[in-house]
């Protein structure tokens, strides 16, 4: 059955790897996730609609999706830059820099949140310099963006890095010696093979940002309608022992991010194809 799905190929192991993938995916991800819908189903349609369209919940979607998007765009730009610098240039302290890239994953999110808040609040090391300029970071939506940028940061760097490392220098040299400018070389020669990895990194950073709770709640200030993120509202529901309400909100985020990720993945596959096969 699985064999017929795939076009004929001389490479072996499709049945084995695919079967294993599907079983593991179902056991670890799909079955547990289906419980979100199972639990939500205990609500009637009207109850469900009321929960997920509450003005406060809507405001939180706006903040969560907006801030996550901005944060992942920042990460896409700077992540590419940093991956490039790390792979192509040599400078003092490069190894150290390479190491701390993963830091946002290793630090427990609450610690990250507390540390970021202490750095970016009005009396913090960085906030101190921003406050006179009228820029408030901690306890505003800007703070949410900072936290989400922090926690999603390693994704783009680490997806681009291996591709860049394996990329043939000869391509660039050829382009260069044929008289292409530096920018042209980057856009025409380097960018296309990097694009799938960049999109992967972006998608992952974005997805991660949507669900983030631990670090955000410290820096956001949690003001209703203004700086409340969706995961906080889920926790609020749980505090009232309202499991169904919590899973209802979770289901909305899950479906929305599924659609978004699916679109990004299709784009990625198309862009990857054009380069590698076309």
């Amino acid at each position: 059955m699985a064999k017929r799905l795939a076009k004929k190929s001389i490479i072996p192991g499709f049945g084995l790897t695919m079967g294993y993938t599907l079983v593991y995916l179902s056991l670890i991800v799909l079955i547990p996730l289906s419980l979100i819908f199972y639990k939500t189903a205990s609500l009637s349609w009207k109850e469900y609609w009321d929960v997920v369209t509450d003005p406060r919940v809507i405001a939180s979607y706006r903040l969560t999706f907006g801030a996550s998007f901005v944060a992942s765009v920042i990460n896409a730009v700077f992540g590419t830059l940093i991956a490039w610098v790390l792979v192509r240039y040599d400078f003092i302290g490069k190894r150290l820099v390479d190491g701390i890239v993963d830091l946002p994953f290793a630090l427990p999110t609450a610690v990250a949140g507390i540390a970021l808040t202490s750095v970016y609040s009005d009396n913090g090391w960085i906030g101190k310099f921003l406050a006179p300029l009228g820029i408030k970071v901690a306890f505003t939506p800007l703070g949410v963006i900072v936290a989400l940028t922090f926690i999603g940061f390693p994704f783009v760097v680490r997806t681009i890095q291996p591709v860049l490392q394996d990329l043939d220098h000869q391509l660039e040299e050829a382009a260069f010696s044929l008289g292409a400018s530096r920018l042209q070389t980057f856009v025409r020669v380097l960018f296309p093979p990097l694009l799938p990895a960049l999109l992967t990194g972006f998608a992952l950073a974005f997805a991660r940002a949507l669900g983030e709770y631990g670090s955000v709640i410290f820096i956001s200030g949690n003001m209703p309608m203004v700086t409340e993120v969706t995961p906080l509202l889920i926790v609020t529901k749980l505090e009232q022992y309202d499991y169904a309400g919590a899973t209802a909100i979770a289901s909305v985020v899950l479906i929305a991010s599924f659609i978004l990720l699916f679109i990004i993945n299709c784009l990625q596959w198309v862009s990857g194809r054009r380069y590698f096969i076309g």
Binding site: T117, S118, S121, N222, T236
Partner: protein, 339 residues
Amino acid sequence: MKRLLMLLVSLSLVAGISGCGPSSGSGKNEVELLNVSYDPTREFYQDFNRQFAAYWKKKTGETVTIKQSHGGSGQQSRSVQDGLDADVVTLALSYDIDAIAKKGLISQDWQKRLPENSSPYTSAIVFLVRKGNPKGIKDWDDLVKPGISVITPNPKTSGGARWNYLAAWGYALKKNKGDQAKARDFVTRLYRNVPVLDSGARGATTTFVERGIGDVLLAWENEALLSQKEFGKDKFEIVYPSQSILAEPPVAVVDKVVDRHGTRKVAQAYLDYLYSDEGQEIAAKHFYRPRSPKVAAKYASQFPKIDLFTIDEVFGGWEKAQKTHFADGGIFDQIYQKK
């Protein structure tokens, strides 16, 4: 690389096997209790557990080991409902134990089984202000003045913050001779002065102490004393308002679990010991107000007298207070949605 992978796989297998094995190897004279408690009670119970173990050994010859679990009161309650094997629960508000009782793990009349509403120690909601009290905050009325910034956590996520909210409401209610509309107006104005709603009591303390935000922090007395101890007496002062709410953190034996474990006797004794002079003394040392008049007299200087009202008197119990004020669409939500 391959070797690394092999190592990881074999490690995981070993771990898997050892992780699944039964952990209880208790002999005849050994007994284990799990006390599921809320956040800042660790040092208190650490001391208490040591004393109780010694007491129990002397009395029965049994060696009792007490394991501790700490977390947000609401989350701890959910864990117990979902199967965390707690022999006793010692939480921040009776609503969280009621929720366990509703699932049939604890008998419905649990709060009547022990003296004093099943709360062996209490606390009060007080104000923490900066050194010298620069804004001259003396009582609740000062908190609603324009230009005063108040730090308190979000009552929707923090059990402790619900006590803060209810203390303010109760004060306004008493002052205005039971006029609910005026109380609501008072609390609305109070929350207008709140610039940040942290998710927990500890986060709010950090906002106030480390970030330097706010003129006054609403806190449990024991936590205010703890932060004074942690951050220095020369930086903060505690202000006692004219009236406050009596915070009663309750305790209960989890019937279903102790019956399964056969630990009811020792679990019961554990909670009873909280009411003994020794237990009360340890509570007082950790800044909880003792119930025993004798111990209270000894620590009178640490706990100034204030006029305290209870949640049952003013709000008719937690169940009702929760529904009116903190449920979705309740008064707290309305305060923020109307604008």
